[in-house]
């Protein structure tokens, strides 16, 4: 079924392509050519390293604020971070340039700033929706408040952290091309994309988009697999 849909889409693409829009065969050839070059591998590795570093920092910051949000002082801070989703990164580039030391740090912190509000939003919603019975069970077992917090939120919601990572990886991956355009000297898939765009090399642009798309799908699959492996109870059907 899916195969048929892909074939139909490719046929439609092939038949409707005019001179400006490259045909799928050309894009595929460009993709194969790109895949064999060191250029693509180097740039993909740069982008992946930056994304993973940003994701790691973002999840640490998110967990810190989310866990502390059970205290009233940090709750309002966490809620403010949630509202920061509505801030556009484009308007803050100069501020971040002033606050960071070099292009590498600028890209990293812009990415973190872009991801954290979405992470915090997702994780706060998990915490807010915790069933009262989970806290009650800990209380009836005579657990202290900190032990309850540890059992219910930290241990009990560890699988949700990976789920949120999986859901929000797309956001980070989406932003990478934008932030890499700010400091192109270190390369990265975003910088490469901007270069091809600049010379209207649409065939390579589309080939790169396919690389970005497939890498995104691969990481989505990887995180889902990790979640199933680390937290087997998440995939169990209720008897």
């Amino acid at each position: 079924m899916v195969l048929l849909q892909v074939v139909v889409a490719l046929v439609l693409w092939h038949t409707t392509s005019n001179g400006l829009m490259p045909q799928p065969g050309k894009v595929a050839a460009a993709l194969i050519h790109l895949s064999t070059t060191k250029l693509l591998i180097d740039n993909v590795l740069v982008s992946l390293a930056l994304t993973l570093k940003a994701m790691l920092y973002a999840i640490i910051i998110t967990l810190g604020f989310a866990y502390l949000s059970v205290l009233p002082f940090f709750r309002s801070i966490a809620e403010f971070i949630v509202k920061c989703r509505y801030l556009t990164l484009a308007g803050l580039i100069f501020v971040f340039t002033l606050l960071t030391q070099n292009g590498s740090a600028l890209k990293l912190w812009l990415l973190i700033f872009g991801i954290v509000p979405f992470f915090v939003t997702s994780f706060l919603s998990v915490i807010v929706n915790i069933n009262q019975r989970e806290y009650d069970l800990c209380k009836t077992l005579g657990y202290s408040k900190w032990r309850t917090l540890y059992e219910v939120i930290i241990v009990g919601k560890a699988d949700k952290v990976l789920e949120i990572l999986q859901q929000n990886f797309a956001i980070a991956w989406l932003m990478i091309t934008m932030v890499e355009g700010l400091s192109m000297s270190e390369g990265g898939i975003g910088a490469l994309l901007i270069k091809y765009n600049k010379y209207n090399d649409l065939t390579n642009v589309l080939a790169l988009q396919l690389v970005i798309f497939f890498l995104g799908l691969f990481f989505d699959f990887l995180l889902a697999t990790m979640r199933r492996w680390l937290f087997p109870y998440t995939t169990l059907a209720t008897k």
Partner: protein
């Protein structure tokens, strides 16, 4: 009639009131549970709090469990100790267990809270799992268990915690006849496991509750909130501790009496 004496007060509720935003839910709840002593038997106590749906049973359950503080009045156990969360074993309706822990891990959570079991945790878990027939399910997650197995696991968890008081919220709700009989047997088994074991059942299932209890308190609504309207001493009526009590005419009369009081 079976020989027995009622001795020390194990639990005392005195003038317990509860209201939310000025709306009274419970008022002047007064009752006590005494240690029943029967020669030659480790006879625990089984007390039922009966009432219609929505009367405030769950609120009273939460107060007894120490999960909530009354607006006024007090609930004390073992002399003069105010009830706090953790003092009572609590088996919630639908037998809640952590979904992210295997049954064994959940039981270990309970044994770690019981100093008496220190060093013998595994042995205690093995013993209770065998008695309640869930040994094969110890390394499964709650999602993999049937309702009956979850209930047993939930009861064992609270037993392993070491509390002599066990509170049950609607333990007979939604069970089919076969499972219901098993649950009744299990509760009776727990009640005679230790002289001081005290089971408090909050339920609207009158027949099953009366069949296994020694005392019944009827909670009914009045102006100013629900209160205990009646106490029925089933031991005095010779309706306690008999397996075939349901065939007794006095049992049927008692059910009618309770229904009329609700």
């Amino acid at each position: 009639m079976t020989a027995y004496t009622k001795q020390d007060v194990l639990l005392q509720a005195t003038d317990v009131c509860l209201s939310y935003d000025g709306t009274p839910i419970l008022h002047d709840i007064n009752f006590s549970i005494r240690n029943i002593v029967r020669p030659g038997v480790n006879q625990g106590q089984v007390v039922s709090l009966l009432g219609r749906s929505g009367v405030g049973k769950t609120q009273l359950f939460r107060l007894l469990a120490g999960l909530q503080k009354p607006t006024s009045g007090s609930i004390t156990i073992n002399g003069n100790k105010q009830v706090e969360a953790g003092d009572m074993g609590v088996v919630f309706q639908h037998y809640y267990l952590f979904e992210w822990k295997t049954i064994y891990q959940s039981l270990r959570m309970a044994t770690s809270q019981n100093p008496v079991l220190k060093g013998n945790e595994q042995e205690a878990i093995r013993k209770w799992a065998e008695a309640f027939d869930i040994t094969a399910s110890l390394h499964k997650y709650p999602q993999q268990l049937s309702g009956g197995q979850r209930q047993r696991a939930s009861i064992i968890q609270q037993l392993l915690k070491g509390s002599k008081f066990l509170l049950f919220d609607e333990p007979f709700s939604g069970l089919d006849v076969c499972v219901l009989d098993k649950v009744v047997d299990m509760l009776l088994q727990v009640s005679v496991a230790d002289e001081l074991n005290t089971l408090i059942i909050v339920s609207h299932d009158i027949e099953t509750s009366v069949a296994i209890s020694d005392t019944v308190y009827i909670l009914s609504k009045e102006e100013g909130g629900a209160t205990i309207k009646k106490e029925i001493d089933l031991v005095e009526r010779d309706l306690a501790w008999h397996k075939e009590v349901r065939r007794n005419k006095a049992f049927a009369d008692t059910l009618d009496e309770i229904k009329a009081s609700l």
